[in-house]
């Protein structure tokens, strides 16, 4: 479960678990997190938590709400975000990542049916009671969500899939050796780079965590490496290998 760590001048004051749908922050006593300081508005901000995600919203406070130094109105909290309110700091810690590492986590889960209503209400920007009577909520499926697998994982992997390639793999490149493009180079930054002429002869170089691999795609002839035709399986390229494809010779090399 995600939590907030409240501190001032680097002194930890307390930890607050985000175990409620709405956690309010402000100077007044009825707030879930009360901060009795004149820089804080009576009702300063609210954190809405939906399953494993939390959203911070400033409630038109006088002095504003800042996350990692930027003023925000609405913010999707990420692990280790620091919320600043006057002199106080609230660090957001989400341990969902650790939970995802448990292999035996229940794979299928049917959640409480009111979950979709909460999503709709939050999206409509209304407190729960108001949204229930109103009809501004966007249409949603009525059924509760069904958990397919453990909460996914390491944040940001999908956002930067290329990063999964081993960081110590040097960047590969090819340089054309003959023909009208002689001298041109192409860095192999993508997962898959196709070479050749469609319908005539095509090959692909896959950038994998442990190296670069050439595979025949189409055409009656197989590409050659250092003069010998490769077999139909993937062929690992070595530094300074010369590939010939559709009459074009090119050298594969590793940038150091």
């Amino acid at each position: 479960m995600a939590k907030l760590i409240l501190s001032m001048d680097n002194l930890v004051l307390k930890e607050i678990p985000l175990n409620k749908e709405r956690t309010t922050i402000g100077r007044k006593a009825q707030n879930d997190i009360q901060i009795d300081n004149l820089a804080i508005s009576g009702e300063h901000a609210v954190i809405v938590t939906i399953l494993n995600d939390s959203f911070l919203e400033d409630l038109n406070s006088t002095n504003g709400t800042f996350v990692n130094g930027q003023q925000v109105k609405k913010h999707f909290l990420q692990n280790n975000d620091v919320i600043e309110l006057g002199k106080y700091r609230l660090k957001y810690v989400n341990e969902g990542v650790a939970q995802a590492a448990q292999p035996d986590f229940e794979k299928t889960m049917v959640l409480r049916p009111d979950m979709m209503r909460k999503v709709a209400e939050h999206a409509a920007g209304k407190p729960p009671a108001e949204a229930e009577s109103g009809n501004l909520a966007p249409p949603v499926d009525l059924a509760p969500p069904i958990r397919k697998e453990p909460p996914a994982a390491p944040v940001g992997v999908a956002a930067a899939p290329q990063a999964a390639a081993a960081p110590d793999l040097p960047l590969g490149a090819i340089q054309v050796l003959n023909g009208s493009n002689a001298g041109k180079t192409l860095d192999l930054v993508k997962s898959l780079t196709t070479l050749g002429k469609p319908g005539v002869q095509v090959a692909v170089i896959a950038r994998r965590p442990h190296g670069y691999f050439l595979t025949h795609v189409e055409g009656a002839r197989l590409p050659t490496v250092n003069g010998a035709a490769i077999n139909p399986q993937a062929h690992e390229l070595k530094d300074h290998d010369v590939v010939e494809l559709a009459g074009v010779k090119m050298e594969f090399f590793l940038r150091s």
Partner: protein, 280 residues
């Protein structure tokens, strides 16, 4: 009336892999170019129940649809002015859902099992696409990739309602929450859409193990660059998903349209219909 064999007009390839984290593969795929049918299901449930659910989805759907379209041409007009195949699809998916639900109810080992579904039925120069859950169908046309299905998932709802941008959704901790699935309830809501098909189109059906691990740009390049070797294209996509972490089962079906396939191909419209009518 026998359904025309579409294998000369449509080429298909499929690849399904356990991935690098999970112990077994709960995805199921069915690709039959002759029938113009592709079905992909991503199962969920404890022990081997996920495989049972997804396996039932592909097997039951495949045989029921073949049966339905042997009895009547999919391009016949239906009651609502749409093609009849649309009704047939909804009906068959409903019955498949009920069968999975019944199995889940009657065997404690399968309690709570379910599966996503995405399927494509090609006929008469068009494709009917049906889906339940977060398995997807993409189309590559003129080098551009487009997602033709919209996930039934919590994240998609949050994106639709403006809570999250698609960019932010990648960082959500609430992945893998579907709002619809086959077998979970006695009935299921299915989205069915009809699309016109053009020669050169490539259709990709995939489980979330692909699109969670491989960005759209890479998928687009793979489909464009490797279209000359569909089986290799499928296996390379799976390989990229695994190289990027392979956190889930990953399955893909590719369907490449080589030529038009109008309903009365080769027989002349009216004559063909007369002949098939006489054969009944």
């Amino acid at each position: 009336m026998a359904k025309p064999d579409l294998s000369s007009a449509i080429e298909m390839a499929a690849c399904s892999d356990t991935g690098r984290i999970r112990s077994h593969n709960e995805d199921s795929v069915l690709a039959n170019a002759a029938l113009g049918l592709a079905v992909l299901a991503d199962g969920m449930g404890g022990y081997n129940a996920g495989e049972v659910a997804s396996g039932m989805a592909t097997a039951v759907l495949g045989s029921e649809l073949q049966h339905a379209f042997n009895a009547r041409s999919p391009s016949d007009a239906g009651a609502d002015g749409q093609v009849w195949a649309r009704e047939a699809l909804v009906d068959v998916i409903g019955r498949t859902n009920a069968a999975i639900h019944l199995a889940a109810r009657s065997n404690p080992k399968y309690a709570g099992m379910g599966t996503t579904l995405v399927m494509a039925q090609f006929f008469d120069d068009r494709v009917l696409v049906a889906h339940v859950g977060d398995s997807r169908l993409y189309r590559l046309r003129s080098g551009k990739l487009a997602q033709l299905t919209r996930d039934h998932s919590l994240l998609q709802q949050q994106i639709d309602s403006g809570m999250l941008t698609p960019e932010q959704a990648r960082f959500s901790q609430n992945k893998n929450l579907v709002t619809r699935a086959m077998g979970v309830e006695p009935t299921v809501m299915t989205d069915v859409a009809e699309h016109e098909v053009l020669p050169g189109d490539i259709y990709l059906l995939c489980s979330d193990g692909l699109n969670d691990m491989v960005d759209d740009e890479t998928i687009e390049e793979a489909l464009s660059g490797l279209s000359g070797n569909l089986a290799l294209c499928a296996s390379q996509l799976v390989q990229v998903a695994n190289d990027n972490g392979g956190r889930d089962n990953v399955s893909v079906i590719l369907a490449k349209v080589r030529a038009p396939f109008p309903a009365n191909d080769g027989q002349g419209g009216l004559l063909g219909r007369m002949q098939s009518w006489l054969k009944k």
